[in-house]
Symmetry: C2
Subunit: 127 residues, 2 copies
Amino acid sequence: MSYYGFMDADRIPEHPDAQTITLQQVLEALVDPVRRSIVTQLCDAPIDIKCGAFDLPVSKSTATHHFRILREAGLIRQYYLGTSRMNALRSDEIDEIFPGLLDAIVSADRESARKGGVLPKAASAAG
Amino acid sequence: MSYYGFMDADRIPEHPDAQTITLQQVLEALVDPVRRSIVTQLCDAPIDIKCGAFDLPVSKSTATHHFRILREAGLIRQYYLGTSRMNALRSDEIDEIFPGLLDAIVSADRESARKGGVLPKAASAAG
């Protein structure tokens, strides 16, 4: 059985049903600038993005923690494609529950990044 | 000089200029359910509300802390009317900086409250 082009059901992490997504969890997820950056990058990308391909100013293990918070809040859907853990924004589902919320936060985040933002640059992170 | 109908300039707390309001501070303010409730109550009220008139499940001193966070984030404008500290939502200013953000969060908060919400009832708060 080929590794590529198939999703491995056994390794797909659990996701909350759309009906159980709460505003509190969504805001707790998006109050963090790194997690907001992940969501904004997903929103701006034409395709799903694998965990290692995001531009983030944190270590791999810290990023993994942030992906988990986003997944548990219902903001992203994660799945495997071969050995890569892919990330998809659950924008349609979120928009159905909280109309306009994700768009407004992502737009505000883009505007903030344009003005200088709150995220340090990945390249200059201390070892 | 009459106490009523005039604002006492000496007692008006400091407020950030609209230009310095950041998404980070706005989200940190609105991630707290009590502060979201204050903002939603202000949004739903036809007039400004004095601090003591909000329906909140916290003590007066805790509420004062929450009002300060909201004021420092640029979400509310506080002023005195006689002996009452009044609160006004800076919705027009916020909407100019982050279009749709406040509306989306307030709408989502109303929808969450309708479903049961995250706030305990004020009446049943332990002493």
